[in-house]
Subunit: 297 residues, 2 copies
């Protein structure tokens, strides 16, 4: 029952319309080939006019966002199983961590379940690739946030040839079945690819090298991965093509401009929460009687 389901299918973001939901603009087409080179990472589709306006617009979304979050959380106390899962993917320095800080930082932290996935531990390696993912899922009423995710297992796994091509093919299918089962169980998936440009990444890596307080964020492996830029872009294109489904679409968020990235992810979450429209549950006790008893104390 997605709102954009009523619109005609589109293979490329439509021109910004003031009232067009952002997710219709940014959603990757389902089952179609994607050329990331055609998406400008500096673009600001549907966004506010410039940085100052963007920061103000994002701040203004905090209140409706946390109001909806509280309703989602409250509804869960009465059995509503719905929850949201934000999946953040993108090249090094694309701003996954910054998005958690600035966008998820707008929410009530009590209702957020954040998990950052690194290279698998030896224990994780002994299990199917979805094992660690399933353990980190949000429960009813929560907003789950994955900084990297099961998609690493079709991205780095492809680029670094960690598994065979036939295994990769099976993984796309496994991911789609997994995400469909999540959607069936009440999970609203918001999968976001933070799309930065090759030049912008160089600037951001340089910034890390030139500031000793940021050295901990850098590893020489980052330059190695950068050397595989075309391979990674292609792996992303395939992941977006194979795993953007009706139940769990991908959104391509241009991420060279941090203010736009933060605004866009915030807005995407807001639109999904608005559609969920969670409600405060009815009292399951006698309010008048409780009031009387309380006043006697």
């Amino acid at each position: 029952m997605r709102a954009e389901g009523r619109a005609a299918p589109e293979s490329r973001p439509a021109p910004a319309r003031r009232d067009a939901p952002l997710r219709a603009l940014l959603r990757a087409p389902v089952g179609e080939r994607i050329d990331l080179g055609a998406f400008d990472p500096r673009a600001t589709p549907g966004g506010p006019a410039g940085k100052a306006a963007g920061l103000a617009a994002t701040a203004a979304l905090a209140e409706p966002l946390t109001a909806l979050q509280e309703r989602l959380y409250a509804a869960a106390t009465a059995g509503d199983r719905r929850r949201v899962l934000l999946v953040l993917q993108g090249m090094d320095t694309s701003g996954k961590g910054g998005t958690v800080k600035h966008v998820i930082g707008l929410f009530n932290p009590a209702g957020c379940r954040i998990r950052s996935f690194k290279a698998p531990t030896p224990e994780e390696h002994e299990h199917p690739f979805l094992w660690r993912i399933k353990k980190a899922l949000p429960v009813a009423g929560e907003i789950g946030i994955f900084d990297r995710s099961h998609y690493e297992d079709v991205l780095v796994a492809r680029v670094r040839e960690l598994v065979s091509r036939s295994q990769l093919g099976r993984r796309y299918a496994q991911i789609n079945r997994f995400e469909q089962s999540l959607a069936d169980d009440g999970v609203t998936l918001v999968k976001v690819f933070l799309h930065i440009g090759y030049e912008e990444q160089r600037e951001r890596l340089l910034e890390r090298l030139d500031n000793p307080d940021k050295h901990w964020k850098f590893s020489p492996g980052d330059i190695e991965d950068r050397g595989l830029w075309p391979e990674y872009q292609h792996a992303y294109e395939l992941a977006l093509q194979r795993c953007s489904t009706g139940a769990a679409p991908w959104y391509v968020v241009p991420a060279d401009r941090k203010w736009y990235r933060n605004w866009a992810v915030t807005k995407l979450l807001l639109e999904h929460l608005e559609e969920l429209d969670p409600r405060y549950p009815e009292a399951r006790f006698d309010v008048a009687e409780s009031r009387r008893l309380l006043l006697e104390t």
Copy 2:
């Protein structure tokens, strides 16, 4: 190596001094009997002069707080095992949830591990009472937050007589050994008792009853617990007396004024982080060489 360890022992908060660390003011005495009736829940020891000043002062702490949090997180990537654990306890409506929202909401959510403890599940019941606690501890570099904690097992367990008196006695000792072992392993414990008054609780419960959007926060059991107010206060006094230790002191935060409560918990966390003084790690790679390689790409 606690700063206040150099001060003379004190059995009651000293009068506010401009430069006195807040934790010296609010710390419960170690091993001494406490009379909570002697602590005014509307007091604002060491605090800003009034609500407007309090809100501004709290907002002003956000920047140094997140700067220190980032350093703690960064240090952990280089092997520093230190982490912080904030334990929040207090009667219903004392503001544990509000503290998480407003104080922990100032932090970068990526470095926070929040856990809210409800009545034990059947599985939790089959394990020792510290089992579920140990599973929820923060890892190196994180700020852990417990909304209720293992203290419920000497509070509600005492008031509701869920275990024998001799078992209770053993639990205090178990808690002290457990917390000492955490401290030995690099955990800075900040145990906060949010102290509200009996009248204030009535007002807050009434507010929940009179606002349908807050009914989900209310349960008739809250009035039952309120009927046991003196027993709970006594159970808290015993927990503070038996478990305020040098390694893991309790802080009594007057909580009738929400702005003071938020400011005080924020300030306590800041003071502990300042003492930890975590440092960004040195680069463990050749910065100049990485820079050269990067510029070639």
